[in-house]
Amino acid sequence: MKKKKLLVKVGVSFFALTLFATICLMGFTDESDAKTLKIGAVWGLTGPGSEIQIIMSQGEELCRDWINAKGGVTVKGEKYQIELITEDVKGTPDGAVTSANKLVHQDKVKFVTGLTVPFLAEAVASVTEPNKIAYWASTFDTMTPKNAYSVSAYTTYVSYKPIIYDYLQKTYPNLKKVAMTEILDPIVQRVAAVGREEIKKRGLTYVGNVQYPFGSQDYYNVLNKVLTYKPEILDINLEWPGGAGALAKQARELGFNGPIMGNSPWDPIFVRDKIGSKEYATDMFFPSFEAASAGADIPPMAKTIIKQWTDKHKTPCIIEVFRGWDPLYTLVQAIEAAQSLDPTDVIKTFEKMKTVDTSQGVSKIGGLKTYGHNHMTLQPCPLTRLNKGQIEFLGWNEIVVP
């Protein structure tokens, strides 16, 4: 009886010790287990322009998967797997602020990526800047010296203008009269203003413009007025791809046969399909590229992305994928260069870097004279033309932003 009681006591003690040891050991991790780096992502997954932002968001997820598959982000010998927390800004500044607040104050991220619309990027920056959170926007044209913690990971829209007007003059030397359509938005008007400077510089004639609200779909009345100026060239500045296709189609329907130039990296396939007929999808050029037409001119990183995308999604890889890829890709390079997870260290390191690898090749970093700091990534600018329904790649051009 005494032996039995002793055995029970020993058994219970052993069990209790084992349980205690297990609980203690749960607090330890294997040295080979990767830690997690939470990064916030803001995209307009609903609302105007969501068709391209969803793809950008998927492009960023592809980048995350690629980085994590290679071991993640390495900082001071520690490996970090990226955990992407994506929020939908719903295409509005209020939505952008709400999303940013949630990421910064609830999810406690130190880095935020995403968005290609400057007024939405500004809304995010209004939250990230005072909290010293590093914000890697896809495109952030309207940065000022006050945006100490913001980076534009993709070439700014204004940077395309000289390249587009160079091509215009070279290809259509006899055409002089330019009219513009512009969305009622500060960045679009800024881009249009740069366009007017290019027109003046090159001895072309600016015949007028028509402005219209963001989110318009029916451009007949806008184009009707623009065409009363009798332009030879139509500059449609910035628009969503659907809007660009609709503008071009409706301009052709109303009898405009001259070249149409755009300023956004639209997916050429989407724009061509939106225009519809081969007769209308012609003499239209804009800063973009599409894999099949670019062929051997595609940079190695872009080829990697295209293969990953088509393997995963089984659909054509369009430029929006790269615009989603680059914020996270360049951010990770900045983190690894800084060997720090402190946003201040990362930003300071980035602005001292001369180049960074991007989806479209090695890109310069600049912008000090124009934006007050070196927070601009300057990818080489692709140029594509629609010619009788065919997509023609016209080559890569170097961007210069002082």
Binding site: L184, N221, K225, G255
Partner: protein, 285 residues
């Protein structure tokens, strides 16, 4: 500039007929059920998506897809009337709340089911028709013709058929109509069904001219309400006149100012008309 004015008139009248198609259904529902069906814009949106999936995904011919959409949304409208609006017929505030709730529900369902990004129906009638210095896309011309045909058909049904006369009777006095042996519930359902079918056709036509998106119904309901207030709530002929007037404003004002000013002028026209004729241009008691 004169070419621009003529083009503006044509553009405006073409747009006006689309507004008429949207407003007709709204006017019909209001005159019979006595409620302002705010979810009418979402019926328009869902109708457009039915056409998209039938035509683009299912490869069904566009006209057949329009018919399918009209039938589907018509039946949907009848179900809505039976399940929801019949209980609150004639009561403005509960009807508004119910319709707003439906609007939010349909938009959310559309985002989940169809995705948040825009789609488009490839042009059904590519090319343009040229009349002197004026050009109109064949898609828009087809929309105008459909608007004319459906409006005329509705007029004929109301004026010449027994069902139409019953609808008129119910719109004037439901109790008296019931006393005359008219099944008011059946007429309500039919009106809701026809109104929804008209909205679906308008949505499908606009989807082929412009784009489809879950929020496209907002434009339709805003225009629809403006048209029926201008034309006279409950008046079919008023909806036609109101639609064409607002279409002309949208087509001509941007030539001299901007699209935003066109919207302002449109509302100013409505306010001025209401000051002189509170029931609208062709409204009646």
């Amino acid at each position: 500039m004169w070419d621009g004015v003529l083009q503006g008139i044509f553009n405006g009248l073409a747009s006006g007929w689309i507004y008429v198609l949207v407003a007709l259904g709204l006017a019909l529902v209001f005159s019979i059920l006595g409620i302002l069906q705010f979810a009418h814009g979402e019926i328009y949106m869902l109708g457009a998506y039915v056409v998209y999936y039938a035509c683009v995904v299912g490869h069904i011919p566009f006209l057949l897809a329009l018919l399918i959409s009209a039938l589907v949304m018509g039946v949907g409208g009848i179900i809505l009337e039976r399940v929801m609006f019949r209980r609150i017929r004639g009561e403005m505030e509960p009807a508004i709340l119910a319709a707003i709730g439906l609007t939010l529900l349909f938009q959310t369902v559309a985002v989940i089911a169809f995705g948040g990004y825009t789609k488009f129906i490839p042009s059904v009638f590519p090319g343009v028709v040229k009349l002197g210095g004026v050009r109109l896309s064949k898609d828009r011309l087809f929309a105008v013709i459909m608007g004319l045909v459906l409006t005329s058909a509705l007029f004929l049904v109301i004026k010449k058929t027994k069902v139409g006369k019953a609808m008129l009777a119910v719109s004037h006095d439901p109790e008296a109509a019931a006393l005359q042996g008219i099944n008011v519930n059946r007429i309500s359902s039919l009106s809701m069904g026809i109104g929804s079918a008209l909205a679906a056709i308008a949505g499908g036509l606009m989807g082929s001219i412009l784009q489809l998106a879950p929020h496209m119904g907002t434009f339709a309901i805003t225009k629809g309400i403006a048209v029926i207030i201008l034309g006279g709530i409950g008046s079919i002929s008023g909806a036609v006149l109101g639609g064409l007037i607002l279409g002309l404003v949208d087509g001509l004002i941007p030539l001299y100012s901007s699209g935003t000013m066109a919207a302002i002028v449109g509302f100013c026209v409505i306010i001025l008309v209401l000051l002189v004729r509170p029931k609208g241009l062709l409204g009646h008691d």
